[in-house]
């Protein structure tokens, strides 16, 4: 029987057990509902800063705003010792209106004219994706008669290892690493107009080795840039620090084994219409790779950063990356997303109905759709917490149910795998999805067929219990 028991922070556990506030919020604001716990980011930030300290590194944490559209998280962050990474004009406006000043903002991702010009007006850092974008920035800056030197970080991709061929996926982002001289030649033409801070990359991988190679390449770039007369001092390694969602490693391992055995046909199917997540049964042999996020992971967040900084580079006298950055006086910028909002949000839905499928499976109809919970086509392997309000029916714990969404669409299942619960809820009960603030709750949400987009509320824990605010009105200063 597959089980994916989520880690739930004490605050969230208390809030759910409190029931009354949650029920009245869903009754009053509708299903689905996103509940944000902005104060949770404090600990996540603290953990990253302590790793910087351990390695004697001057570092800055940039919250990757794209992780979540919430106002309250940005507002809370603006009062903490962090900066923000914005990827669109509206994210930049959100950062500014929530209290971030230009010197704490960095723009990443694809940029249009509106985004660039507003950024120039606030003298934010531009993490430049390509040289065409650099030209646009310079040209807009001179049209605007900008008197500030434009702060530039260059983003690279396509790094090569000297010792071994490590394949990386092709990236749509960044300047090819081979073009370092072309890029620096270009920058040299505008030396008086820019302040060149340093280099960046963001690799779409959770693999340490690829990141180590990129860092190794970038450290060499610092030396090349000095030959061009620049004094770069920033290395921006992007995000991808991961989060651990699952309490128990064995439970995760056993459940994934069951999933594979079911796909191989050794056990009864546990996926809707035998969905197989990238693997298939080829004459009894399992082929392909199970392309799911590792919801259990023992090396995440600040621990992952620590491991990265503790990696020794053979091409630099076997010194650790942390030591190399520290002794070269290179400031480290990181852009955590998921890890920044770990345990900072839950998504709540009401149960609308219970029914049987054409082959006898129990289906639980919710007031939420798949896109309100998942990014892209990823499968969420996290069991929801059910608050039984009304009468419930016992269920054989080996049977399992499917949770289906509120769209009039065959594929709108919340999970494409069975969830094994021991009590069937009834109409009006509440289903809570845990730890959804990082890319899950609103990255893909839409009001398709006029089903509502979830409203957001921010919760703060006070001495007198939980207090809630609309997401727009939350501020850590409210409590004063």
């Amino acid at each position: 029987m597959m089980k994916f028991t989520p880690i739930v922070s004490h605050t969230i556990k208390d809030f759910i057990e409190d029931k009354a506030t949650l029920i009245s919020l869903v009754d009053g604001l509708g299903s689905p509902l996103n509940v944000i716990f902005p104060q949770a980011i404090k600990q996540n930030i603290e953990e990253f800063l302590s790793v910087f300290k351990k390695h004697f590194i001057n570092g800055k944490v940039f919250y990757a705003h794209k992780t979540n559209k919430s106002n309250s998280i940005v507002r809370q962050a603006s009062f903490e010792n962090v900066n923000i990474d914005v990827a669109s004009e509206n994210e930049l406006k959100s950062a500014l209106s929530n209290g971030f000043t230009g010197d704490r903002i960095e723009a990443t991702g694809p940029k249009n004219k509106g985004f660039i010009s507003l950024g120039l007006q606030h003298n934010i850092i531009f993490n430049v994706d390509n040289l065409e974008e650099f030209n646009q920035i310079i040209s807009l800056s001179s049209h605007m008669k900008n008197r500030n030197k434009v702060k530039i970080i260059l983003r690279f991709s396509g790094f090569k290892s000297e010792s071994i061929k490590v394949l990386s996926k092709y990236s749509r982002f960044g300047i090819p690493a081979n073009d370092i001289d072309i890029a620096l030649d270009k920058l040299s033409e505008y030396k008086d107009k820019i302040k060149f801070l340093g280099f960046s990359f963001h690799l779409d991988t959770i693999d340490l080795k690829e990141k180590v190679i990129a860092i190794e390449n970038c450290i060499k770039f610092f030396n090349i840039a000095r030959d061009y007369g620049f004094e770069p001092h920033v290395l921006d390694i992007g995000g991808g620090f991961k989060v651990n969602y699952i309490e128990n490693q064995n439970e995760w391992n056993n459940s994934i084994s069951e999933l594979k055995e079911s796909i191989l046909g050794y056990k009864e199917s546990v996926t809707w219409n035998n969905q197989s997540f990238g693997i298939h049964n080829d004459k009894g042999v399992l082929k392909g790779a199970l392309n799911i996020y590792n919801y259990y992971d023992s090396l995440t967040g600040s621990k992952y950063l620590d491991e990265l900084l503790s990696t020794k580079l053979s091409s630099f006298q076997n010194r650790t990356i942390g030591t190399i950055l520290s002794e070269n006086m290179i400031d480290l910028y990181i852009e955590p997303g998921k890890a920044f909002v770990n345990q900072a949000g839950i998504t709540v839905s009401k149960v609308n109905f219970i029914k049987q499928s054409s082959n006898g499976d129990t289906l639980i109809g919710l007031g939420i759709k798949r896109t309100d919970l998942v990014i892209g086509d990823q499968e969420l392997f996290l069991d929801p917490v059910i608050i039984h309000n009304k009468k419930d029916m016992p269920l054989d714990k080996n049977k399992g149910v499917y949770f289906i969404g509120n769209l009039c669409l065959e594929t709108d299942l919340i999970f494409k795998h069975k969830v094994f619960i021991d009590k069937i809820p009834s109409e009006g009960d509440i289903v809570v999805f845990i730890n959804t603030a990082g890319y899950f709750m609103d990255f893909n949400s839409s009001d398709t067929i006029k089903q509502p987009i979830a409203k957001k509320v921010a919760i703060s824990k006070t001495e007198n219990g939980f207090k809630w605010y609309s997401d727009e009105l939350y501020s850590p200063m409210n409590a004063l």
């Binding site: 061929k165 790779a289 006298q317 002794e327």
Partner: protein, 442 residues
């Protein structure tokens, strides 16, 4: 003994009786098939040769490259056999977990391609596994490659049926218990089948790694499903071993039996005992058990270091930077950054910058010299290249390391000082810094 070709040394490995004082069983004799005695150090030498020997001339004539998905012993064997026959070899892998294994492969001259790691946002349609990657490469240029396909190649179990199984039988006769580690499963399956024909009552036990842990060359139960030649029903029992147990019993084998086997050998030895201990008590007659010691310990140093750091803790030397007392550290005179430039001007110290070469080259205090901290530590043990009437100022990134070295030097009777706040404070104070500019000659 005279040989004409290295491939002749493959196989016919020794069978060693493990002393009962080590395994403590009363009724069962345990024997280790020492596959680490193969010329390239592992059981995989047999299949490396076995999978290519029939076709070696045509591979050579057609100038094909041998390709395999291996992150260890098979790659080692294939690489040596290929290169000594003038053939190219390439291994595609999903990550080599132990750095020494990679180093050995590089020494042997292997071309290694490592596939990308899992994406932070996995794409369900991405076929990110080495076998698919190899198949795609081969469908583009099928003429160019010879894919040995160890996971599905039926020559793999056949070789062990023909040789390993037979060798054991010739040395020992009927076997009652056979233990093999499950990787490709070829070696245990082939060997077992031969022995089973001789004694159909033989118990067959497969050893696998516990999930979430790794033992080189052994798969966990999930990974077994990805292996074409694995048949769960072939085994009477499957025993799970974790890496700490594997390393512990590897040490027993090395230290008590003189078998320099790697973690896999330890895993199968421990797995055998786990299975046999209870059975042993119920027996009234003598029985024989055999396990396969797959490869050698030398290329797993960092793997062992990670799991058993205690082995490597050398006895603490009298004085070093890790055993200084708070008192030693407190006694160090730190040169405050406000007065630092003036202090340097006045005392003309020997300024030693403890940072790495690249950092020193980029920026350093004028007239300082660069001795990297770990070299400096060695120098302090062997002989210090300046006299003790020389005033020394130590510089590091933030003043942490320099304080420790100053304390140690002072204990030895030197006049050493530490720059408070390190090079970062020196830079922030706006004092002079230099860059090394070399004439780049050929």
């Amino acid at each position: 003994m005279l040989y004409n070709n290295i491939s002749e040394l493959i196989g016919n490995t020794p069978l060693l009786k493990i002393s009962p004082e080590v395994h403590k069983l009363e009724n069962i004799e345990i024997y280790a098939k020492l596959e680490l005695f193969n010329p390239f150090g592992s059981v995989k030498d047999r299949i490396g040769w076995g999978m290519i020997k029939d076709d070696i001339n045509s591979i050579k004539d057609n100038r094909q490259t041998i390709i395999e998905s291996s992150s260890g012993n098979t790659a080692k064997a294939l690489q040596v056999l290929a290169s000594s026959n003038g053939i190219k070899f390439k291994t595609v892998t999903n990550r080599i977990k132990v750095p020494e294994v990679k180093s050995i492969l590089q020494i042997l001259g292997a071309e290694i391609e490592e596939l990308p790691g899992l994406s932070e946002c996995p794409d369900p349609t991405d076929p990110n596994d080495p076998i698919t990657y190899i198949e795609n490469m081969m469908s583009v240029e099928s003429e160019k490659y010879y894919h040995t396909a160890q996971y599905t190649n039926m020559k793999n179990p056949q070789i062990h049926y023909d040789n390993t199984g037979k060798e054991i039988y010739e040395d020992l006769g009927n076997i009652d218990y056979f233990f093999g580690t499950l990787g490709t499963t070829g070696s245990s399956r082939g060997t077992m089948e031969y022995l089973l024909e001789k004694n159909s009552d033989m118990k067959k036990v497969g050893i696998i790694a516990s999930k979430g842990d790794s033992i080189p060359g052994i798969r966990n139960i999930d990974e077994m499903y990805e292996v074409g030649i694995f048949k769960k029903k072939l085994y009477d029992s499957i025993i799970t071993v974790d890496s700490v147990e594997a390393v512990e019993w590897m040490l027993q084998l090395i230290r008590k039996c003189g078998v320099l086997g790697g973690p896999t050998s330890g895993a199968v030895f421990y797995g055998s005992l786990k299975y046999l201990r209870d059975i042993d008590k119920t027996l009234t007659e003598k029985k024989k058990a055999v396990f396969v010691a797959c490869d050698r310990v030398e290329w797993y140093i960092s793997y062992i270091q990670k799991r058993r750091p205690d082995i490597f803790d050398s006895s603490i030397k009298k004085d070093n930077i890790r055993n200084l007392s708070m008192d030693d550290l407190d006694k160090v005179i730190k040169i405050e950054i406000d007065e630092a430039e003036e202090w340097v001007e006045k005392n003309k110290p020997l300024i030693i910058d403890l940072r790495g070469n690249l950092a020193f080259k980029a920026k350093h205090i004028p007239n300082s010299i660069n001795i990297i901290d770990n070299y400096f530590e060695e120098l302090l043990d062997s002989g210090i290249p300046f006299s003790n009437n020389q005033t020394v100022l130590l510089v590091c990134p933030v003043g942490e390391n320099s304080k420790k070295f100053a304390a140690l030097l002072n204990k030895k009777g030197f006049k050493a000082f530490s720059l408070e706040g390190g090079i970062v404070s020196w830079r922030d104070a706006g004092y002079a810094l230099e860059r090394t500019i070399l004439n780049e000659t050929i």
